[in-house]
């Protein structure tokens, strides 16, 4: 049994939540991007988390990792803006399917989950530091 596996659990959560935060930041940054390399407006992305045992065969210690980054294929929002260079003949522009409010909520969730993992890391650390004091008189 690896006594320090629990630190890897918390660390995996920190890096997964940070990656999620990066994706959310991309979504927010591209909330009005109408031209992308693939053509068309920017498509919102989202992360999918999955559990990952930090030590093979060790039950009860499951970290987390980003399984994949998926594209959100929901329809684009259309905005009436005839002056826009990407407007169609009726004057409508297809805008990214990014909902800024939704992204902000997701960002807060990622931030809170990150904080919780930092708390969990610190609690484990204080426990192990305490054991190092064993026998010290």
């Amino acid at each position: 049994m690896d006594s320090f596996g629990v630190f890897n659990v918390s660390a995996s959560a920190l890096s997964a939540q940070r990656q999620r935060m990066n994706v959310i930041a991309s979504n927010l940054a591209n909330a009005h991007t109408t031209r992308t390399a693939e053509g068309g407006p920017y498509r919102r992305q989202d992360v999918v988390f999955t559990t990952e045992p930090v030590i093979a065969g060790e039950a009860g210690l499951d970290g987390v990792k980003v399984d994949s980054i998926v594209r959100d294929d929901s329809p684009f929002t259309t905005v009436y803006d005839p002056g826009h260079p990407d407007a169609d003949q009726d004057g409508f522009v297809a805008m990214p399917n990014v909902n800024v409010i939704e992204e902000m909520v997701n960002m807060m969730m990622a931030s809170r989950a990150y904080e919780a993992s930092v708390t969990s890391f610190n609690l484990s650390k204080s426990m192990y530091l305490k054991t190092l004091e064993l026998g010290k008189v």
Binding site: G5, F49, G60, A110, A113, T119, K130, T131
Partner: protein, 121 residues
């Protein structure tokens, strides 16, 4: 006399395992279909520590170094199939850390007692 050591050792071990389970829960707070896990402390302490046998008819509890049983919580899951409640997990983890430190402090005191007994003024 040395009984205290093995009991405290077990307490510290259980708290360590529980800490791992709770840390996993917090790490997987946004993982779809993840189910929260915990160690049932009352049951563990009851069976693992072996309750006092004050009468010959009493059965001494099992003292085997058994693996700690993890159980999954069956609380109502969120829409994504995950049933971790972050605030509760953090609270449990804090409580567990206190329990762990209490065990370690007691172990420390016990060692200190032995050291004092061995000391030749």
């Amino acid at each position: 006399m040395s009984d205290g050591f093995s009991i405290l050792e077990r307490v510290v071990h259980q708290a360590g395992v529980r800490n791992g389970a709770l840390a996993s829960n917090i790490a997987n707070v946004d993982t779809p279909n993840y189910k929260a896990r915990d160690v049932s402390f009352g049951e563990v302490l009851g069976t693992e520590m072996g309750l006092a046998t004050t009468d010959p008819k009493h059965l001494s509890g099992s003292r085997s170094e058994g693996a700690v049983e993890l159980r999954t919580e069956d609380t109502q899951p969120w829409a994504d199939g995950n049933n971790v409640e972050l605030d509760q997990e953090v609270a449990k983890m804090t409580e567990n850390a206190m329990f762990f430190q209490a065990g370690v402090t007691l172990l420390s005191k016990k060692i200190q007692m032995f050291k004092n007994a061995l000391r030749t003024t």
